[in-house]
């Protein structure tokens, strides 16, 4: 129940939220720099923990609804409180996280312990006084957006207008206003009239970071559709269609499965987007639909193992990906607690491992290598020794600094650039 299922920095990078399989949200806050402990800058400590979603039971279908948090997205800061959206398979909730470090004392109608005072005992009126107290962080659900999704929600994305957001499930995408919970607009619907004809599902969706009318969604067939909400109310007709032609020489029975896109992310600049499929990451220029501008192989050595990975279901693992603050580097996870970083220009890639063994805090990570051919060099790991239960599906990059969060099953690792 403690398996981390999503990781997300807020807009400032000072808060880091994680959601887990048990429906809990844990928020970490960055320590402020202090003269006494210069090393403490960069440490994140627990700020708030709360139960976001509970398991539910759908009586109509006789099925459980998992409480696992699929995604967390922060809202841009508007006042002293922090707001985030968290979602499970069916319901999205808007949480307000606020600090309280003062307490009012001297109420007229109730005692200090909260009991109501007898009215005849109130002989004079007094103004309550604010007294300092230990910092308390409380999380309160402010909105609950429910009953809008028949299928499992896989994505939520806050719009750049800061007023609306989208939620996407396997077949539909809905548009919400943050203030309105009893109504949402369906903007994409790919459900066929006859469900037996279903061959493609929506796997991820995101709003453009600057253009509030543009969104993209990816599919299980490896395609991405860009929609413009200005062109029509229902965006079933895409404005742009991104698909790379298949390489006929590498076709196999698993071609479609490994082409299924597990994550799509716009670059910070808004000029590019990145898609993650099972074996690779592709960077697309939004102005060019017929092929990606860059392709990075994440773990090509798995291509010859696809049947085993199909048998043990690992081929269906959904890896996420993320951009660095300047869009110069992209990162994604792999197996054996490895994660990969790709510098885009000049091209360079690194494999690192998130594990406690041999890694003391603040020690520099040693690059790892997986060997595919027979002869294994020292420090290399052979493909057959990889632990496929240790998968890094969720990673996040600080919005401004070279600081990353990597979720390895039920552990969260934080790494920073050694030049910091």
């Amino acid at each position: 129940a403690d398996i981390i299922s999503t990781v997300e920095f807020d807009y400032s990078g000072d808060l880091l939220a994680t959601g887990d399989k048990g429906g809990r949200v844990v928020i970490f806050q960055r320590e402020q720099e202090s003269k006494g402990r210069p090393q403490s800058r960069g440490e994140y400590n627990v700020y708030s923990t709360f139960q976001s979603h509970e398991p539910e039971f759908d009586y109509l279908k006789s099925l459980e609804i998992e409480e696992k948090i699929n995604k967390i997205r922060w809202l841009p800061r508007q006042n002293a409180a922090h707001f985030l959206l968290s979602t499970n398979d069916k319901t999205i909730k808007l949480w307000k996280i606020s600090e309280r470090d003062k307490r009012a004392e001297g109420y007229n109608l109730k005692d200090e312990d909260g009991r109501l005072r007898e009215p005849f005992r109130v002989t004079e009126l007094r103004v309550p006084v604010l007294k300092p107290m230990d910092l308390m962080v409380e999380a309160v659900p402010r909105r609950i957006f429910a009953n809008a999704h028949t299928y499992h929600i896989n994505s939520i994305s806050v719009n750049s207008d800061h007023a609306t957001y989208l939620s996407a499930d396997d077949l539909r995408i809905n548009l919400w206003h943050l203030e309105i919970t009893n109504r949402s607009f369906n903007i994409v619907d790919i459900k066929p009239a006859n469900m037996e004809e279903l061959t493609e599902v929506i796997t991820a969706a995101e709003f453009h970071p600057h253009q509030c009318n543009v969104l993209v969604y990816s599919s299980s067939k490896g395609t991405i559709r860009l929609c413009d909400m200005r062109s029509s109310a229902l965006c079933d007709q895409h404005s742009k269609f991104f698909e790379e032609p298949e390489d006929p020489s590498s076709r196999s029975f698993f071609s479609e499965i490994i082409s299924s896109i597990s994550d799509v992310k716009f670059s910070h600049s808004g000029r590019y987007m990145m898609t993650r499929d099972y074996l690779s990451i592709k960077v697309w220029d939004l102005n060019m639909e017929n092929r990606p501008v860059e392709t990075y192989q994440v773990h090509e050595y798995l291509r010859s193992k696809l049947c085993s990975l199909y048998e043990n279901d690992c081929i269906f693992d959904k890896f996420e990906c993320c951009w660095s603050a300047s869009d110069s580097t992209i990162m994604t996870g792999s197996y054996n607690n490895f994660f990969r970083m790709f510098d885009r220009s000049p091209r360079r890639d690194t494999t690192l491992e998130a594990s406690r063994e041999g890694n003391k805090p603040r020690a520099i990570l040693k690059p790892r290598k997986v060997c595919t051919a027979g002869k294994r060099k020292k420090d290399e790991i052979s493909v057959d020794s990889l632990d496929f239960n240790k998968k890094i599906l969720h990673t996040a990059w600080h919005p401004m600094e070279n600081f990353i969060a990597v979720a390895a099953t039920n552990n969260l690792y934080l790494f920073q650039d050694k030049t910091n």
Partner: protein
């Protein structure tokens, strides 16, 4: 003599006999490995998490894989048909489908309350009721249609198009067709469903003419027969039924 004939047809004389042997061993291996993949996929579709709604993306991807295998088998399934088909078999096929459908509806009529399955989706219960035992035994549910009849692989599409199969393998099939059934059965008699060979076979099959793993043919132990391939049709009918249930839930 058998091999010499093949050598002349498939290869330009450059390959040695061992290469030809490897070529022969590749054929049953590919078909039976493809059959294994089909079986695995059917099992995966049936063995969904019963308490929570199954992952639709995963189900759709598996169903698409099965459809792809089905299409390919339909295209070169005619290769299996050599001496077994007559139009009289066709009605049997329809009987089979009806039987499967009747079985599920009959079990529904008998009542769905199997202990331990109380919270299950009603649609899945009809699937599970097909099994003889109370525990969900996917293997038995896949086996069941096979036992119902023998060869019902219909010659629906005698297409010119051989699919993606390599030309040399097609020629080998042609040669096999001209042989008596006994020799074909002998060829298939020592093949096994070995999943891990599937890796090198299926993922590398299109571009790779070297089937190195086929050296392990000695390790294949359990006998099978051509009938196992022909039983795909019933599997696929069952699959359509299952997919229909699956997506409607």
């Amino acid at each position: 003599m058998f091999m010499r004939g093949l050598k002349r047809k498939c290869f330009d004389g450059e390959e040695d006999i061992e290469g030809t042997l490897a070529g022969i061993k590749a054929i049953p291996s590919y078909n039976l490995q493809r059959q294994s993949l089909l079986d695995m996929s059917l099992v995966k579709l049936q063995l969904c998490h019963m308490l929570v709604e199954p992952n639709l993306c995963r189900s759709v991807l598996i169903a698409n894989t099965v459809r792809q295998i089905q299409e390919e088998m339909t295209q070169d399934g005619t290769w299996q048909m050599i001496n077994t088909q007559s139009t009289g078999q066709a009605p049997l096929d329809r009987l089979v489908s009806t039987d499967i459908l009747c079985r599920s509806s009959r079990d529904q009529a008998e009542g769905k309350h199997v202990p331990g399955y109380g919270t299950f989706n009603k649609d899945f219960e009809s699937d599970q009721a097909q099994d003889s035992s109370e525990t969900l035994s996917a293997a038995s549910s896949v086996q069941a249609p096979r036992n119902l009849q023998s060869n019902v692989w219909e010659m629906e599409n005698p297409q010119e198009n051989k699919g993606n199969f390599q030309k040399s393998l097609d020629q080998i099939f042609e040669t096999l067709e001209n042989k008596s059934p006994n020799s074909v059965e002998d060829l298939f008699s020592e093949v096994d469903n070995s999943y891990y060979d599937l890796d090198t076979m299926l993922t590398g099959m299109m571009s790779n003419t070297k089937m190195g793993h086929c050296d392990s043919i000695e390790t294949f132990s359990s006998p099978t027969n051509t009938a196992s391939n022909s039983n795909c049709k019933s599997d696929l009918n069952e699959l359509d039924h299952i997919v229909e249930i699956l997506v409607e839930s």
